[in-house]
Symmetry: C2
Amino acid sequence: MTEIRPLSPPVGATGDALVIFTPSGKRGRFPIGTPVLTAARQLGVDLDSVCGGRGICSKCQVTPQFGEFPKHGVSVSADALSPWNAVEERYDRIRGLPEGRRLGCQARIEGDIVIDVPPESQVHRQVVRKAASEREIVMDPATHLHVVEVAEPDMHEPRGDLERLADALKEQWGVERVTAPLPVLAKLQQALRKGEWQATVALWRGDEGPAKVLDIWPGFHEGRIYGLAIDLGSTTIAAHLTDLRNGTVKASAGVMNPQIRFGEDLMSRVSYAMMNPGGDREMTAAVRTAIDGLAQGLAAEAGIAARDILEIVFVCNPVMHHLLLGIDPVELGQAPFALATSASMSLEARDLGLGQVNEAAQVYVLPLIAGHVGADAAAVALSERPDQSEDLVLTVDVGTNAEILLGDRSRVLACSSPTGPAFEGAQISSGQRAAPGAIERVEIDPATKEPRFRVIGSPLWSDEAGFAESIPGTGVTGICGSGIIEVVAEMRLAGLLDAGGLIGSAEQTGTPRCEPQGRTNSYLLWDGTAQGGPRISVTQGDIRAIQLAKSALYAGARLLMDEMGVDHVDRVTLAGAFGAHISPKHAMVLGMIPDVPIDKVQSAGNAAGTGARIALCSVAARREVEQLVSRITKIETAIEPRFQEHFVAANAIPHATDPFPNLLAEVTLPHVAFNAGGGEGRRRRGR
Amino acid sequence: MTEIRPLSPPVGATGDALVIFTPSGKRGRFPIGTPVLTAARQLGVDLDSVCGGRGICSKCQVTPQFGEFPKHGVSVSADALSPWNAVEERYDRIRGLPEGRRLGCQARIEGDIVIDVPPESQVHRQVVRKAASEREIVMDPATHLHVVEVAEPDMHEPRGDLERLADALKEQWGVERVTAPLPVLAKLQQALRKGEWQATVALWRGDEGPAKVLDIWPGFHEGRIYGLAIDLGSTTIAAHLTDLRNGTVKASAGVMNPQIRFGEDLMSRVSYAMMNPGGDREMTAAVRTAIDGLAQGLAAEAGIAARDILEIVFVCNPVMHHLLLGIDPVELGQAPFALATSASMSLEARDLGLGQVNEAAQVYVLPLIAGHVGADAAAVALSERPDQSEDLVLTVDVGTNAEILLGDRSRVLACSSPTGPAFEGAQISSGQRAAPGAIERVEIDPATKEPRFRVIGSPLWSDEAGFAESIPGTGVTGICGSGIIEVVAEMRLAGLLDAGGLIGSAEQTGTPRCEPQGRTNSYLLWDGTAQGGPRISVTQGDIRAIQLAKSALYAGARLLMDEMGVDHVDRVTLAGAFGAHISPKHAMVLGMIPDVPIDKVQSAGNAAGTGARIALCSVAARREVEQLVSRITKIETAIEPRFQEHFVAANAIPHATDPFPNLLAEVTLPHVAFNAGGGEGRRRRGR
């Protein structure tokens, strides 16, 4: 009985009925005739309503339960709810009410009852499920739809329509202060009159300021409102069009960042801005145009109007952040890598010149962690919450820059490491982006030194029957990032590569696939010339590029471990679109990441994108990530002498000086040493 | 001794010196060596400083007083202040320090002293002096310049430049929360580095939200910041370019409202919007372009950069308000005359597409009183403050619509009355706008019925020698609004017009200047045909137009008096550019305004423009006008049957049914009655 709220009189004292809501278990006593929605609201049960109980939105659907409920100590008779009324009849006739459902605002309590609130009727339903961290993200978007009845104008009390709308929102929805931007003011009067003084407003409450009307529709607006979660990367702009009422992703798309024509990596774009007056503005315009196109494309794909996109959340690295906002990134190209601003930002889409989405659309940009550690890393932190981890977790978002987070409940450290674009297939002789035809998985037989591989777009291995026919389009075209990692690791495992990274000759390795190339050797992975395709080899240069990239990544992780005062981590999370495709075993053979049991290496998929979605769906999450970022300890790799030491020491695959040799239980790295004709290998090995 | 602040120990207890500031009279004891600025701040003395005591802005100049001051009970020796220091020497060498002046931040207290703060060193100096109401407006602008020293970036604490600027503003100027719009973020980093981490910011604190950085300059910014006070009228857009540091008007200009091509008066513009799809947007674009041009022109005239205009305040009638903001004014053309919004607004200039002023310039729009009583009337109320008047004051802003305020400390009423454009010279046969060549003053000899007049641009009366040569340009061109009022009143006084407004014939009046025109007569004021000029007559139609206009004005005033339950007012204030030129005597003869002693009729000049300037110079005044408007009782003339009654009854000049015949002590209106050939005069008289 202690669950009964004090406001409800005890059983039997009045004619009140006991009402129990599931799954929350909230219960209370209410006078006969109380609408279910009213009871739910008084008990704080999470039952949705857009129309505020006017019987028009149907968001408050509930499933009454009848019969005996010993668990709840209640018996529910068939007449415990009022019969269907005209509103429900009409709704069912026009739209159809699922079997067993009632409208919470119409059904009235007539006796003790158990009422189930189905997931789709919950406002704060869980949308982003994080299996790894066992954490649930519940809907708490900044923008909600509300139906309001607005008082008609009165010449004797000549306040404006907006002021009367504000009164209605205060009275009917408890909204204290309301503003409306000019585009909404421009359509306000017509909407109110067309809807005969009933309207649906999209109300944004994203900060502590007044609530903002983002849009208004006459009467009850049947439509939905949407948001874009955008992961603005140096290479790719990925966006998820998300239903702001339930968090559902309606469409996702990625486009190339058009800034690539100004520079492949971030630093070359900074250089472009430095060398070309107005170059930053060119790049800003290019990326904004691309975002506009992405918004339009996603809206078309989902069959919605781009004008119904009311919010955009951005995550991006610091250079992209500044270029998006129209800030010259020149300071990010040199120590001390000073950001123009590091805090999160709330803007309007038109501030960014975005013209496809709603005129009043709101933008939220996640905070930056440091000059080299961006809002994308903050988004990874929001998605993965290392600060809530019991064990010590290393989170690595692999890209042109790797963002690295190390931490647990006590402390989180962050740094960025300049891995370069090798992991993305750039600067690799046969490298290419992950696309159909790209080699993504590789195995090399340690005995025969013969390779087999799979390409994106085909389910078959290259030595399986029908492989050639199974490849889409142009056949085998190159090697993508995950393929590069696997082939280099496999070459090391097969004894084709020594610990210093030198490729052996045909004589040294015993396979004609090792071919001389200048003063070094290369390994022939695939010869497609007979079919008019490419000859795909791994060159000594490719190995060096991968060594540089993996050394940078490893050195960053080690630097954080030094700072944390630990010599091992409990688990590793690989984030990023690329991270999701990396084979943990090969990454460890290569020495990209510190040694952990292989089952402790998880992929978080596009964690930055997930973080963006979480921030899009939850105002509370925005406040959380702002708090979290302020608590993260930032380590600047560029000024840490130990970074250079770790970087040099991490060059080998593996190397003896590393206290954490990347030796997996099931892997024995061969003891191989080659002496190539040229000096390059010797110089490296001589270190 | 009671004036000494408790924090200061008593005389003689320590070596502290007594410091007395004039004109405030504030006094206190301070340790020897205390800078004058520090003492002033601790005592709350109004002593300006932009640089915060760094010796670079020279705003804190004071004039120490030496000798005996029996009134203050103190004797000041010549060494009561520290000698000039190097900073003062340098400042005097480069810029010149006026005789007797010291820099308050450099001069240190060495003994008991009296220190005068000259007006130009006071922040809150009086700028708009309202002789009529004995009220002073003191500078309290939303935007101030502040010099700050910002911490250099630190890679170990990688917060953004904006965050470190915010820290500096908090620490050095007590500003709690700071934001910066994107245009400022785009120039922030360069400004801080160029100024070697010293910068001057223009900080806007116009509402309860965070302070906003509107602009930033490297080091100490020698320049000034400006605001525009704009009175956006149906016919004319008048703007005052104002120095935001001291309220000085640097330049003023008016341009024709380009919307005139869409309709001469407001209702025809509303009709244009109703009849032409997109017509409201055309008009919005036209007025915004004109404002841009005005800003540019004023900046050029004052020799400043338009980018240094950081604030704009608008006052305007409701239709202009909506058209400025991009809101279709269609609802204002029909009952219930519903405003889209009535509250004051804070916007950014770019929201209005204004591109000449600073990119981050802030806009404040005064609140509207009702659907027909605009922000211009609110501005008149702010300027005239009827709510602070001990006696009952009727304030009339005469234009195409007359805004009428009636009130005293107990209550203020407001209405608008559709006078039409006759008072502005439109719809008058020889009417014209007030411009050189327009007749503005008229006298008619009651004996000879001969007129004499003065035209704008000449100091001579028309019967004085050299008059013809003294007129600029094209000679006498027409009659402006004030001339029309005078000529009609003079015709009535000279017996050329009967109480019903009928012009007598030549026989009836005994002057050949009364000429037949159709079935009525006209009065020839000036025949310029011999010189190739116009023949300027007052026609019966002109008289009717003026009668309609004055009846509307009078009826509005009477409606408010009815509502207030009074049958007389204590004083009348005529506002508006036109109001300033009306002769009170003639206005009363005509019956435009209720009877009051003629010395109780005052001109407030362009009170709406003054109200705009006050709001530009004072944030407190913005809050005051918002409060004031919320307390004003609005009367809608269009739905008050008594308005029609008063309107009809007020047609005569004067007429018997009026309980307040417009009889001045010194004026005896002749008993005249004409019977014209046509029926029009008879019909009117028959009422």
